[in-house]
């Protein structure tokens, strides 16, 4: 693979990832952690915090 082809391939991959907006989604188990808002809400925010 020559240098130009390589640059093209890398650019294609980078742009492709950005365009798809594919941010990784983690599976975060809720368990019996404190929660407010409906359990079937379309959006769930899990906050990892330290009170201090």
């Amino acid at each position: 693979m020559d240098r130009r082809t390589l640059i093209f391939v890398i650019a294609f991959l980078v742009m492709g990832t950005a365009a798809s907006g594919a941010q990784k989604r983690y599976d975060v188990p809720i368990g019996d952690s404190p929660q407010r808002g409906p359990a079937n809400a379309p959006v769930t925010i899990v906050e990892f915090l330290d009170y201090q």
């Binding site: 941010q23 990784k24 989604r25 983690y26 599976d27 975060v28 188990p29 809720i30 368990g31 019996d32 952690s33 404190p34 929660q35 407010r36 808002g37 409906p38 359990a39 809400a41 379309p42 959006v43 769930t44 925010i45 899990v46 906050e47 990892f48 915090l49 330290d50 009170y51 201090q52």
Partner: protein, 141 residues
Amino acid sequence: MEVSSTLKKVMTSYDGKVRLVIKNVPYGYRQYSVASALAALAAGDQGKYWEMHDLLFARWPQLDPESLVRYARELGLDLERFKQSMDSKRHKDSIERDLKLGDELHVYATPTLFINGRKFVGEMRYREFEKVIEEELKASR
């Protein structure tokens, strides 16, 4: 500390559409981190988790043991029960589980948020929440 009041605003403006879940990842080297998390969970045993949660943010950095008991009194909790709850293995285990989960999810800083599984490290402004939540609501329709 800002994130809590921003989140409160988020919960109000997206009432019914957003669920908030708390995982406790107290840093071991901070003096009152674990005790504060235990105080919130212990207040939860008397149905006052979120009241204590808010109070801990509001009164930060006063989180020494005497202050925690004072907050419990302020919330009208049964103090004997509160102290017993704070010592309970159940809550310590729950914090251990959260810490383990945090490790697995590579949570190295607080706050770290997962919005429908999408990870955000550090404090977020209201506008940022708005953007992500709108995206998620659109995707869920």
